[in-house]
């Protein structure tokens, strides 16, 4: 399998798209920018399991997003983070 495209600490943007099949990116995370917290394992592509075998497997990254950036009128503390695991084909490098 290929080397990871993204590295720990890199800023990434989660794609804002809605394929009309099961996908594992919740609407609140679409279009958000976060930082790669760790590189996780590989798993079949969820969108391709629908009537298929899920191939090729895709790398998964844990992405850390600042909670105050994620929610309007967030009532927690400024340092709060949300960590969410996102497949590589949903990510692009961000400034």
């Amino acid at each position: 399998m290929n080397e990871p495209v993204f590295h720990v600490g890199q800023r990434v943007r989660i794609a804002d798209r809605t394929p009309p099949v099961h996908h594992r990116v919740p609407s609140y995370a679409k279009g958000q920018v976060g930082v790669i917290e760790r590189v996780c394992g590989l798993h079949g592509e969820p969108e391709k399991f629908i009537r298929g075998d899920g191939k090729p497997p895709q790398r998964i990254y844990r992405v850390r997003i600042a909670q105050p950036e994620l929610w309007t009128n967030y009532e927690g503390t400024d340092g709060d983070k949300l960590e969410i695991e996102i497949f590589e084909h949903w990510l692009e490098a961000a400034e």
């Binding site: 804002d16 809605t18 099949v21 099961h22 996908h23 594992r24 919740p26 609407s27 609140y28 995370a29 679409k30 279009g31 079949g44 969820p46 969108e47 399991f49 629908i50 009537r51 298929g52 075998d53 899920g54 994620l70 929610w71």
Partner: protein, 108 residues
């Protein structure tokens, strides 16, 4: 925040109070669980993603009305019929046979 993808995509919405009451798992629910795992192991469905897809294709009304394992059952039936493992006639006949048996046993 993007538009939710179906009635399951609830993150960030106000969900109201959480029901913390314990509840038992009915025998038929274990049976559905077992059938799903068997279908996965035998390769009749490819991954839980396929089952999730079927659940997410339910109408919002069905999604709201059905319990957790009722959604699983609907999705598994849909997957097995659409993949040609069983056909709708076989499914309908089996449902009718089970209903008849339950009525005969008086537990319908």
């Amino acid at each position: 925040m993007s538009e939710p993808w179906g009635p399951h995509d609830l993150g960030g919405q106000d969900g109201g109070p959480i029901d913390l009451a314990e509840h038992d798992t009915a025998y038929w629910e274990w049976q559905i669980d077992a059938m799903v795992r068997l279908a996965l192991k035998k390769g009749l469905i490819s991954d839980f993603a396929e089952l999730r897809d079927g659940i997410e294709q339910l109408t919002p009304e069905d999604y709201a009305r059905c319990t957790y394992y009722e959604r699983w059952a609907k999705s598994l039936a849909y997957a097995l019929v659409s993949r040609g493992v069983i056909d709708e006639k076989q499914l309908d006949e089996k449902i009718a046979a089970v209903k008849a048996r339950q009525e005969a046993e008086g537990d319908a």
